[in-house]
């Protein structure tokens, strides 16, 4: 079958983004009004300034994208606005339940962080005209990433919260630098792998159908593994360790197309798990809680997971309605357990909708990676979208008992400034890369490759 392909001139689709943004803001407003009607029986008094401000934030990002990244993907921004807005509504709802209002509330702080996140995204979109510039900072990103990861271990600066030493406090602000380390390390992995992927994918011998790498090429994966183990040992943060190692293995696989890297990664992971199980009581407890959250001994230790599960069960198919459930009974209902809180009040239908929104977000990231023309951009887009997807998997899997619960924030939703800022930065980078991916090529005659092809000599037919 013979086919011909004609590429259409791609539309910018900014108008469509605006329409989707209007629906997105409408969803968030409806959710907020439902909460206050359910709790207080009245429409919130400050609805005009707050709702107007929220819509204005979304509109400003839209206008900046229109101005500086006209061909960016049209669905990324509306999805993030819905997710961030639903997170805000849920945090506000938990504030109401605890009697914290106005400036005291978590929702107020989260709204300020959202504003800062939007500002950061705008700075990235305007300041970074071409994502390929980031490739120059490959090794600087590595240094920045490692410093950020190690900052919480500095005495006097780091703080231990709930057994994990992943926070730093600077005066009144506390901060989770690991979230930014995630972005920095993704940039490093992309820049590093785009240089070395040929040797990583081609050299090596074949055993049982897998091409295994040479011993000396194992260096980078071992370094990543040791780094993840260090996080695990010194910061006792299983979630971040899993996220960094998984991110590296996934990007290695995408860069080299070798299944052997996944096999090696899983083996190293199994080794780490065996080590953690034998040496940390902390980790053993989590596995016990995961396997049997409802046993008396587990409930005596922590009833968090069990309460989250009961909450989701109480929600049923269509949920109790925002403001009508009791999500505040679960500890950390506004951060690690924000997904069960939303699942309780929106039900299975709403929870699946939220998961699908994350899925589409990551799918757009992968589509961007397929469309963009440079290897660095491909790896960066894959890495960023994978980090969001994997983080979502770790935290949602944890609260729904698919995997043992490890503390990580739900991207865009959980209470927490550093997570929100880092994820808005990821959004800005994806918008920038997708703009490059969808922008039509300049005319062929302008490219240097065309001149090179024209300069090729014609082969002469030899006449006998």
């Amino acid at each position: 079958m013979i086919t011909t392909v004609e590429t259409l001139h791609p539309p910018t689709r900014r108008g469509l983004e605006l329409v989707l943004l209007i629906i997105a803001v409408a969803i968030v407003l409806l959710a907020w009004v439902t909460v206050d009607l359910n709790r207080n029986g009245t429409v919130p008094a400050n609805i005009v300034p707050v709702a107007g401000g929220f819509a204005a934030l979304a509109l400003i990002v839209h206008l900046v994208v229109r101005w500086r990244a006209a061909y960016a993907d049209p669905v990324l921004l509306p999805i993030v606005v819905v997710l961030n807005g639903l997170g805000l509504v849920m945090i506000h709802r938990l504030d109401l339940a605890r009697g914290r209002l106005g400036v005291d509330g978590d929702a107020y702080r989260q709204l300020i962080w959202t504003t800062l996140g939007v500002v950061l995204a705008i700075v990235v979109i305007i300041g970074l005209r071409d994502h390929r510039l980031l490739r120059r900072y490959t090794f600087i990103s590595l240094a920045v990433g490692i410093v950020l990861l190690l900052l919480p271990l500095v005495p006097g600066l780091g703080r231990t919260v709930n057994g994990s030493r992943i926070w730093i406090s600077l005066g009144p602000f506390s901060f989770q630098p690991g979230e930014f380390a995630k972005v920095a390390l993704t940039i490093f992995f992309a820049g590093y792998l785009v240089q070395t992927r040929d040797v990583l994918s081609l050299a090596g011998k074949k055993v049982l159908g897998f091409t295994f790498p040479r011993g000396r090429d194992l260096g980078p994966i071992l370094v990543a593994w040791v780094l993840a183990l260090l996080i695990l040992v010194f910061q006792k943060d299983l979630g971040s360790a899993l996220l960094f190692f998984g991110l590296f293995v996934a990007m290695l696989y995408v860069a080299t197309e070798r299944v052997s890297w996944i096999v090696i990664g899983l083996l190293l992971f199994a080794l780490a798990v065996a080590f953690a199980l034998s040496s940390f009581a902390h980790f053993q407890v989590r596995v016990d809680l995961w396997l049997d959250p409802f046993s008396p001994s587990s409930l005596a230790m922590s009833d968090q997971l069990a309460k989250g599960l009961w909450g989701m069960a109480a929600g049923g198919l269509t949920g109790s309605g925002l403001g009508a459930g009791r999500p505040w009974m679960t500890p950390f209902a506004e951060s690690d357990f924000i997904f069960p809180s939303l699942a309780e009040e929106l039900g299975l239908v709403g929870a699946v909708g939220i998961i699908i929104l994350y899925l589409i977000f990551c799918q757009r990231g992968v589509r961007t990676a397929l469309g963009v023309r440079d290897g660095f951009g491909k790896l960066l887009a894959i890495g960023l979208s994978f980090s969001v997807a994997f983080q979502m998997f770790i935290v949602t899997g944890g609260v729904t008992r698919v995997i043992p619960l490890t503390g990580l924030t739900t991207p865009f939703m959980s209470l927490g400034g550093s997570s929100l800022l880092a994820n808005w930065m990821i959004l800005a980078l994806l918008l920038r890369i997708s703009d490059q991916a969808r922008r039509p090529l300049p005319p062929a005659s302008d490219t240097p490759a065309a001149d090179a092809a024209a300069a090729d000599v014609t082969q002469v037919v030899k006449l006998r």
Binding site: I2, T4, L8, Q459
Partner: protein, 201 residues
Amino acid sequence: MSELTLTLLRLGLLVLLWIFIFSVVGVLRADIYGTTVSRRSQRKALKRQEKQQSRASRVTVPAAPPAEPDATGPGAGTAVPDTGGVVPGMTSPIENNPARRRGRHAPTTLTVTEGPLSGTSLPLRGNGILIGRNPECALVLDDDYASGRHCRLFPGSDGWLVEDLSSTNGTFIGRDRLTSPRPVEIGTTLRIGKTVLELRG
């Protein structure tokens, strides 16, 4: 607030959420199918491939590999950029086309029947087309034996003419190497290197 209003709000929120999801998915559909793939009739293509293979086996010089279906797909698309040098815009009015007015034997399309681009066709319109390996050509050949600017097809007073642009390996009609512009009609086959072009009505 009445119970009914609250229930309606609760369900309305879910409905709105899913409307949003479906509209996003609708956008994705349009994006995924952003490129149009037009399929020629399968029977025709098979026949052409068979012909090619039998010809390839007869020729002693290793001919170009018969075009694989999926290899020709994107290749054919990139080979014919519509920015091509001499071809003007796609919407040239018919009355401006002199060849179209003269007789029933005036060809309207040029089709590649053999060679790496086999299956590609492009309309004969306007002031003529340039054929060669240079990216500025309207038909960019992926053929090592073709020159950068190999030959051109242009409308003369009596119909379309083909002219060799002093190419290295020549343009052939049948066994004759072109030395001067020569009229072409439907069914004429031109050979350029390993590529065979046919003029069709």
